[in-house]
Symmetry: C2
Subunit: 194 residues, 2 copies
């Protein structure tokens, strides 16, 4: 990448170097596990160590940025300014999340596994990856509750923990994460509305 003499418009050289680092970091983690070295990542990306450290202070931060920006993980955040039942919105969202998680299940397993023996990584994984996704679902549930689609005495944060928990449980045990399961979780969350 950095050897190219022409640059695409709006793609400065350091953005291309960052993209290469993220892409190669994920590829190497998939192949070799979390223990892959910084040296191997910069070699594969064809950039200097300084280029990496200009943007990320640790391998964990590079990997989490890469995971976060992975095209396959990009599920559109539900647009709550639109009308329409939130149950359908959340069903569509969870089905898309499950679809992308299935495709990158091995990578997510490696990250969650690493988090078990590495408290600093666990904290960053939570702050950067888990909590933002939790809050997206909480926002949809709160909006549904305000619209009367979910009973007033339910706790959106608890429902979100159960939905995400059930999803992790199935991911980590290699059980099916399919459209039916997504719909069943959302159906249970919305049942018995006021």
């Amino acid at each position: 990448m950095t050897q190219e003499t022409t640059q695409a418009a709006g793609r400065p050289r350091n953005a291309e170097a960052s993209d290469a680092l993220k892409r190669e970091a994920l590829r190497l983690v998939r192949e070799q596990g979390y223990g892959v070295s910084i040296a191997a990542i910069i070699k594969a990306a064809g950039v200097s160590r300084q280029t990496l450290y200009n943007r990320w202070s640790t391998k964990a931060e590079l990997l989490l940025d890469a995971l976060f920006e992975l095209a396959d993980m990009q599920v559109a955040i539900p647009d709550l300014s639109q009308p329409g039942p939130r149950r359908a919105v959340l069903t569509t969202y969870m089905r898309e999340v499950f679809h992308h998680v299935r495709k990158d299940a091995d990578l997510l397993r490696i990250f969650i596994s690493q988090a078990q023996s590495d408290p600093a990584f666990r904290a960053v994984l939570y702050d950067r990856f888990v909590e933002p996704r939790d809050l997206i679902v909480v926002d949809v549930l709160r909006d549904a509750q305000a619209r009367g689609e979910i009973a007033q005495d339910r706790d959106p944060a608890l429902i979100s923990a159960m939905i995400h928990g059930a999803f992790w449980y199935r991911l980590l045990l290699d059980l099916p994460l399919d459209d039916d399961f997504a719909a069943a979780l959302v159906e249970d969350a919305f049942r018995g509305a006021a």
Copy 2:
């Protein structure tokens, strides 16, 4: 253990050797992680390799037996022949489970982490440890449903997956697993009964 010349009544020598193997296996996994060797385990237990293989064909099976029989993991299975509301039964059960899980959280993290890179271990962990605990909760929920404490249109298997999922989610992210969380999960499962 095997050097002792007197045996407690009803405790044959091979039972003592098995207890020593399970105890030392868990101690070493806590200290060194899942990668601890069979050689280190039999040395610490003071038994021969053959003694181990007489009973267990793999390290995974020894470790799962040890985890399963660990005194701290022994939570009494709810007695559904007794009268009384199942909501209280399940709240007490989940609080006890959380209490013991908190004490052995590091060990469970090591097992779940190992299961991510080792499909055979994952299958045995599921069959021996996860599924039996899942079915205990499903049984209580089904009984509650038969008694009218849970609405007829709920799916006990889905509720159990959400309860266990939420518990794994919190365990793996090092979030609180306390009495209040146990009660909130059960309260949500039982809300809006027929």
